[in-house]
């Protein structure tokens, strides 16, 4: 009873994007996690197969709905790939509008994550504040596209709407407020004592680990890996508007908070620059209904990291095969390796640290190796983590 107390703790399953929803099992020895495994598929819808039964235009809308948080980058990745197969390029103004939306989306996504991650750490004040400020960027996205989520900006061969002067002024005003708020958040995540107790030195991933596991996005950059598709292989208007890479050597949760917050400043700078130098001209080019046969790889930088599309056309109206690798899948793989050796109470923070859009409220079961079992929800695990740290 005393010595051989090992538990398997399943968490999940609920997480709402293409392949990201996970059901985890943590084997714990006392308080320390000794093994971690993952089961996905609760939200597996069969999109890659569904794509083969839809034409290219219909697929643009289907793939936008892989993930509601980073919908725009999915549609952009598909549109860029298909345009490349068709041998056309979106006009310069359309390219600039695409990356303008991508940066606005990054702001909304990072603020969303900041709130959710703070919530998992029991810091609900920060959650409410960051979501309140996020409404500023949601209003901007809505005024541009007419929708708060799933903006449907892209067409194959261009974009649907233009950015006018009134939009420009509204965006600049919004950014000023957001910049001021972000400075405050950066201050909070680097100085708040209770918060640092949950983040500093927790979930540390060394640079070598991050390289080997193929970690992408802010999670990799927080471990000092300079990896960003916008810099490594600039696409669309990123060739005109270069991005400054934000990295941190820490590798722990705190570094992930700092990197994401600093990336917000970079996005503000980039949007201002795009608005100042928006190329003029057409918004669309003609693209044939039938896309010439061929294969291409399309990579874009989503808020969570590199998004990878492999697109194969057989020369018809419908794709032969579209393979999507979302950034969270890469990061799942790495977090499972990092989780080992940490306290169970740290798991909510470590999992949310890679930004898997964890809106989990589901149940988990705590199973004794013997007979008795106890049912826990994600919420209870979160509270357990908060209580655990209160005692220290």
């Amino acid at each position: 009873m005393e010595t051989q107390r090992k538990f398997i703790v399943p968490i999940g399953p609920q997480h709402p994007a293409l392949k990201e929803p996970g059901h985890f099992q943590f084997t714990v020895d006392g308080e320390i996690v000794t093994d971690a495994s993952v089961r996905l598929g609760y939200v597996h819808r069969g999109i890659e197969k569904g794509a083969e039964n839809r034409n290219w235009t219909q697929n643009l809308y289907l793939f936008e709905r892989i993930c509601g948080i980073c919908s725009h980058v999915h549609a952009t990745a598909l549109a860029i790939g298909v345009e490349r197969l068709a041998g056309v390029q979106a006009p310069p103004r359309a390219q600039a509008i695409r990356i303008l939306m991508a940066e606005l989306e990054r702001i909304h996504s990072h603020l969303l994550w900041l709130g959710v991650a703070a919530h998992e750490g029991g810091f609900d004040t920060l959650f409410m504040y960051s979501w309140r400020d996020r409404e500023i960027v949601m209003d901007l996205l809505e005024s541009l596209s007419g929708n708060r989520v799933n903006y449907s900006v892209n067409l194959i061969g261009g974009v649907k709407f233009d950015v006018e002067d009134k939009h420009r002024d509204a965006i600049l005003r919004g950014l000023d407020t957001l910049e001021e708020r972000t400075r405050h958040y950066l201050n909070v995540v680097t100085t708040d004592r209770t918060f640092l107790a949950r983040t500093r030195g927790v979930g540390t991933m060394s640079r070598n680990q991050a390289e080997l596991f193929g970690t992408v996005g802010p999670t990799a950059r927080a471990s000092g890996v300079a990896r960003d598709v916008r810099v490594d292989a600039p696409y669309e208007a990123y060739t005109l508007f270069p991005v400054n890479l934000v990295t941190d050597e820490g590798g722990d949760l705190m570094a992930r908070f700092v990197v994401r917050t600093k990336e917000l400043f970079e996005s503000y700078r980039l949007i201002r620059e795009i608005l100042d130098h928006l190329p003029s001209g057409e918004l669309t080019v003609r693209v044939p209904r039938k896309i010439p046969a061929g294969e291409t790889v399309s990579r874009v930088e989503a808020p969570r990291g590199e998004l990878f599309y492999f697109i194969k056309s057989n020369g018809g109206e419908k794709p032969e095969r579209i393979k999507v690798r979302t950034p969270s899948l890469c990061n799942w793989a790495s977090v499972m390796q990092v989780a080992v050796g940490h306290k169970l109470a740290d798991m909510p923070m470590i999992l949310s640290g890679i930004d898997p859009c964890f809106s989990c409220n589901d149940r988990m079961v705590l199973i004794n190796r013997g007979s008795s079992s106890q049912v826990w929800s994600w919420d209870e695990l979160r509270r357990y983590g908060i209580e655990y740290y209160k005692k220290l």
Binding site: L18, G41, Y42, G50, L62, S377
Partner: protein, 166 residues
């Protein structure tokens, strides 16, 4: 002390219970296969800008504490059983709110191999809120409709079509 359904005591108790239920409905949120779009809008509805909590709605972690199941997305093969289990664990009387186009009809994912169907094919739905995703205002409108219909007794099936405008 025993209560038969018609005693004045029982009527008073019923009224008190209904009053309490309408003033503080607790909700659980389940994603049965959605793209996340509706889920972030539900969360946005709870945060300061829209603040659904002014109607007493509180998001709960456990189905055993919940009166309302807010469900998003089409139902996938793997989550079907989960959804049923959550529904069965909720105490009576319970109500289901289906949020988003794919929860209503399968939406963009209709015809994909891992989709079982829409939410109403698995559990009885009281309120349908269309939109891809619905605006927070529409979600609030749907919840208010549900609460209003509770005053009359069990909710009739309602579809929120107006209210999507800001």
């Amino acid at each position: 002390m025993e209560f038969s359904p018609d005693t004045p005591w029982q009527k008073v108790l019923d009224a008190v219970r209904r009053w309490a239920r309408i003033n503080s409905p607790w909700a659980i949120h389940y994603n049965s296969g959605s793209c996340n779009g509706c889920d972030i809008e539900i969360l946005a509805t709870l945060t300061p800008r829209y603040d659904l909590e002014r109607f007493g709605v509180k998001l709960q972690g456990s189905p055993r504490h919940a009166d309302i199941l807010i469900c998003t997305g089409p139902v996938t093969r793997q989550s079907r059983e989960r959804l049923l289990r959550i529904y069965e664990q909720m105490p009576d009387p319970k109500f289901v709110v289906a949020v988003g186009s794919c929860g209503l009809s399968g939406g963009a994912f209709r015809g994909c191999y891992n989709i079982v169907g829409d939410i109403s094919e698995v559990v009885p739905v009281d309120v349908f809120i269309p939109g891809c995703p619905p605006r927070p205002e529409a979600i609030i409108f749907g919840m208010v409709k549900l609460l209003e219909s509770l005053k009359k007794g069990k909710a009739e099936v309602a579809t929120v079509s107006e209210g999507a405008h800001a």
